[in-house]
């Protein structure tokens, strides 16, 4: 069994995840790399919300969900308020 299996999420899917609140938006301009786990969790979360099997991969059903007509508001509240790395205190 391979020790590491990377999840591939293209820009369009990442933008979708960010737009609807599944991934934090802070990395948009600074181009922060996302961890594999972070992406996988975001996809799972989307799949759970959409009521499709939680595979953690952008499979066909997820792709179908992503092109469906929908409301423009995010499904999750702003993750910047939840991401602990963004809430930690900095030394002066």
């Amino acid at each position: 069994k391979p020790a590491f299996s990377a999840v591939y999420v293209d820009d369009r899917a990442q933008n979708y995840l960010m737009k609807f609140g599944y991934l934090p938006q802070s990395g948009l301009e600074t181009g922060n790399l996302r961890t594999d786990d972070q992406l996988r969790d975001a996809i799972r979360s989307l799949q759970k919300f959409g009521g499709i099997p939680e595979t953690g991969q952008v499979d066909e059903r997820t792709q179908q969900l992503m092109v469906r007509r929908r409301c423009g508001l995010p499904d999750k509240p702003d993750l910047r308020l939840q991401d602990p790395s963004l809430l930690r205190r900095f030394k002066r």
Binding site: N15, G51, V67, R70, L73, D75, F90
Partner: protein, 493 residues
């Protein structure tokens, strides 16, 4: 269900449609569908909704295309259908629909169209304080699902709305004349039902008709077309008034966003004679330096644009420019912009300016046009419209432009949005515009932004500025500092 923020403090909410003939639909039909959508929530809570024709309504409903200034641009026909704001002041409660969708006033919303009733009912859930629900079949499920004509609110949404606003007082709510929420009965004409022609016998003179089942028997004759059905919220509800033409009050003027006044600008064709500074050409007239009549007080002003050009700071305000180098203000400045840069017309302001890294050209933005300068001279073929950069045609001006030290990319700012510009393909990048809130703490409608020699980014608004922390994507200090004191060396206060 998920609740978001605080609910409305009052139960008698008002609403108003602010777009006339949205998506080419009949305004009366749209109003009827919106009223029906609100009724879905009214029937299941203590809320009441009344239509008014005013910008002061709690819920303003409008149709927009693409970027429309609220940070949630529409994407044309397809994925994003609408959005609404949670309860609150200003935009709170407002619902926006994508005008480019194929809206139908038919509740089923077939493959060719999207039911306005279904989407409006969902969006009004947001207007009342409900966020998205992951329950499939719930009205607040984010993905579009058509709903039926006689739609009943699912349990999930019912619990949500009743937690915020309480359950309706009585099952007879709205039907009991003694109750304050009484609404007179609505005259709902039945649609003509299709009845197949029955076999007739010609053997006798009389025609025999088979008895129709009771369900298809017309209840009452139809007096007017179905799309003109009366609605309790419409002024021509009462039967005696039914003969009147429908009343559509005139649309009031759009509210004007309190921003600095926009100066419309039409560039002259390149090559026209520029106005000389001295008006008299008689021999007796001698050169007189231009009188700086409307020179702004550099210790008490905001700035139109600031840019670091060839390691010197250029500060633009009105028709003047200050030039500062390491030794301070350069002699002869402030000067008129026209004295320094050879525009083909008199310039009374610039909106934004930046120096392109690749070829050191200086790019000015004035109104809907941009000008490219090589040193002090305009390049041939300019000015060009902002649309040549891939910016939307309805964009009236750019607030600020900069090359960001963090990634050496060019950024344009306007209102609450910003774009990243690809200098290689000479076009704004895909997935833009984005909301300026990405640059946390800066806020919308900035005056200017630039990058100092050490790579630090500064945002200016009014008479103040913020230093920006590129790594943490937020302002380095929440309280802005005085521009006059820091940049112009004016005494504090």
């Amino acid at each position: 269900y998920t609740l978001h923020g605080s609910p409305w403090k009052h139960l008698n909410l008002t609403w108003s449609l602010r777009t006339e003939r949205p998506s080419g639909l009949e305004t009366g039909g749209v109003r009827r569908e919106l009223a029906r959508a609100l009724d879905v929530w009214a029937k299941n809570s203590k809320l009441t909704f009344h239509e008014i024709n005013s910008d002061a309504a709690d819920i303003l409903i409008s149709f927009h295309r693409g970027y429309h200034g609220d940070g949630y641009p529409f994407d044309g026909r397809g994925q994003i259908l609408a959005h609404a704001f949670f309860p609150g002041s200003d935009r709170g409660g407002d619902a926006h629909f994508d005008e480019e969708e194929e809206w139908t006033l038919d509740s089923s919303g077939n493959d060719d169209g999207t039911s306005l009733f279904a989407v409006a009912a969902h969006e009004f859930g947001h207007s009342l304080g409900l966020a998205h629900s992951s329950v499939r079949g719930a009205l607040m499920y984010p993905w579009y699902q058509g709903i039926t004509e006689d739609y009943e609110l699912p349990e999930d949404d019912k619990h949500g709305i009743q937690q915020m606003y309480g359950a309706p007082e009585s099952r007879l709510w709205g039907k009991n004349p003694d109750y304050p929420g009484y609404r007179p009965p609505v005259h709902r004409p039945s649609y003509p039902t299709y009845t197949p022609r029955t076999t007739t016998t010609t053997t006798t003179a009389s025609t025999t008709t088979t008895e129709r089942p009771w369900r298809t028997r017309p209840r009452e004759p139809m007096t007017h077309p179905p799309d003109r059905r009366d609605h309790p919220y419409r002024p021509n509800h009462y039967p005696e008034e039914r003969t009147r033409p429908p009343y559509y009050p005139p649309r009031p003027e759009w509210p004007v966003t309190p921003r600095r006044p926009h100066r419309h600008h039409t560039p002259p064709t390149v090559g026209t004679t520029s106005t000389p500074y001295t008006t008299s050409t008689t021999p007796s007239s001698r050169y007189r330096p231009p009188v700086k009549k409307d020179l702004p007080d550099n210790c008490d002003t905001d700035y139109d644009a600031i840019s670091l050009i060839r390691r010197e700071l250029f500060i633009f305000k009105g028709k003047y420019v200050w030039r500062l180098n390491d030794r301070g203000l350069v002699d002869g400045f402030p000067a008129e912009i026209n004295q320094l840069f050879k525009f083909p017309m008199r310039v009374d302001h610039v909106d934004a300016v930046y120096e392109r890294i690749e070829d050191n050209r200086i790019i000015f933005f004035i109104g809907r046009y941009f000008y490219v300068f090589k040193a002090f001279y305009l390049e041939p073929g300019y000015p060009k419209p902002l649309t040549a950069l891939g910016l939307p045609p309805d964009l009236e001006k750019i607030d600020a432009a900069m090359v960001w030290g963090y990634n050496k990319k060019t950024y344009f700012f306007s209102g609450s949005m910003y774009w990243r510009f690809d200098e290689n393909v000479n076009h704004v990048e895909l997935d833009y515009p984005r909301d300026i809130s990405m640059f946390a703490g800066v806020g919308p409608n900035i005056d200017t932004v630039f990058q100092w020699k050490n790579g630090t980014t500064y945002f200016f608004k009014g008479k103040h500025f913020w230093q920006f922390d590129d790594m943490r994507m937020r302002v380095a200090h929440k309280k802005p500092k005085s521009s006059a004191h820091y940049w112009m060396g004016c005494p504090r206060g």
